[in-house]
């Protein structure tokens, strides 16, 4: 099906380096944790003038817990 890219490299995964293989490996997240952005900004729709309507929609952000179907 279109869009599936089995050969996509994993090289850009933010902050993820495989640790030694056990839970005692020190955390290796080196990416600075920025302050949580106001998610409402990116999610607000239809509040701007016509030709900037698309502005808010190119990148949309939510928490990983923001989908229904996970208990």
């Amino acid at each position: 099906m279109a869009g599936y890219n089995d050969s996509a490299t994993g090289t850009s995964r933010a902050g993820l380096e495989p640790p030694a293989g056990d839970l005692t490996a020190p955390s290796s997240g080196g990416v600075p944790v920025a302050e949580e952005p106001p998610a409402d900004d990116a999610l607000a729709e239809g509040t701007l003038a016509d030709d900037v309507l698309a502005e808010e929609l190119l990148v949309e952000e939510i928490s990983i817990d923001g989908m229904c179907g996970v208990y």
Binding site: G3, A8, G29, A39, L57, I62, G66, M67, C68, Y71
Partner: protein
Amino acid sequence: MTAAPLPLADQFQHGLAAPICLTWELTYACNLSCVHCLSSSGRRDPGELSTAECEALIDEFERMQVFYVNIGGGEPTVRPDFWHLVDYAVAHRVGVKFSTNGIKITPEVARRLAGSDYVDVQISLDGATEQVNDAVRGTSSYRTAIRAAATLAAAGFRGFKLSVVVTRHNAAQLDQFAELADQYGAQLRLTRLRPAGRGAAVWHELRPTAGQQRAVYDWLTIHGENVLTGDSFFHLSGYGQALPGLNMCGAGRVVCLIDPVGDVYACPFAIHDSFLAGNVRGDGGFARVWRESRLFAELRRPQSGGACASCSAYDACRGGCMAAKFFTGLPLDGPDPECVRGHGEAALARVGGVTPPRPAPDHSRRNPVRVTIGRRRPPDRACDSDPLAGFTARTG
């Protein structure tokens, strides 16, 4: 350039390369017998995936670039290979959050977990007091959960989850839950009770009243900035501003369930043949089921509103939860049973005496841990000062 991008809900019609969130029930075995267990757990199934099969599944997650997997059960930590599988997942670039009643969270385990960015822990708790919790989850379950939370906190694990299913009996305890979460450096999570698994039998007596439902929505709007919900209250969007999240049913679109015997369901709250997409033991494994199953292709097609299309709230609530409708015997193209406009109540009255679909399969214990729901008095106010007020200790 091109026209504005579609709303997310419409973009999922072509299917995602992999689920965003994937729930993986590792075993049906459990030391508890919660009355509302969505997976009817208690006894291990003899056909559960072997360690090697679990590793192969994790290999698939890695190839598909699944970001993280939510491991549950039953009680996943009772599997002897549990910690090995968690290590294996992390070593293969798959993040893990596991959901537990806390039974195996020892100080040593907590220390190891605290040191890893890629493993998260979710402790289940359904009462801010022992009486309210144990009535649903069984004797000593509150103590086990709190002990696990304290152990994680003492080991320096910040931000683990305290996850609550909101019921008629704990809906008034939201502030107390928030305090508990703060006390242990945890993040509170409030989720919706669905009529799934054993929950189907107690749903009518456990679900929040309409007034409580409104109060929960209001509380989340005012106090819920750091409270997670798993997007489980999108059916309440009709009250006003939508709560944070995708605000849509994720079943088969962004989430799915893999059960202990490898069956793939659209969602953990929809464990039923009607929502069975395939099995990971089949040819092509999980990836093929996710990408090619007919059930998922159907679920991904944009849905018309059906009976809800003419309602002004539809754009916000999208007709609510598929599993809630299914297990209360309501049509899937009509209102959610807890529709904020009351259309659900009307629909439930119409289906009246018809027996709804039975959840399946049932892995409940034959001699369950004693709970008191159905035989208990209403929550005792005195429990504010005495956690055991009104509570008759039972063995088992």
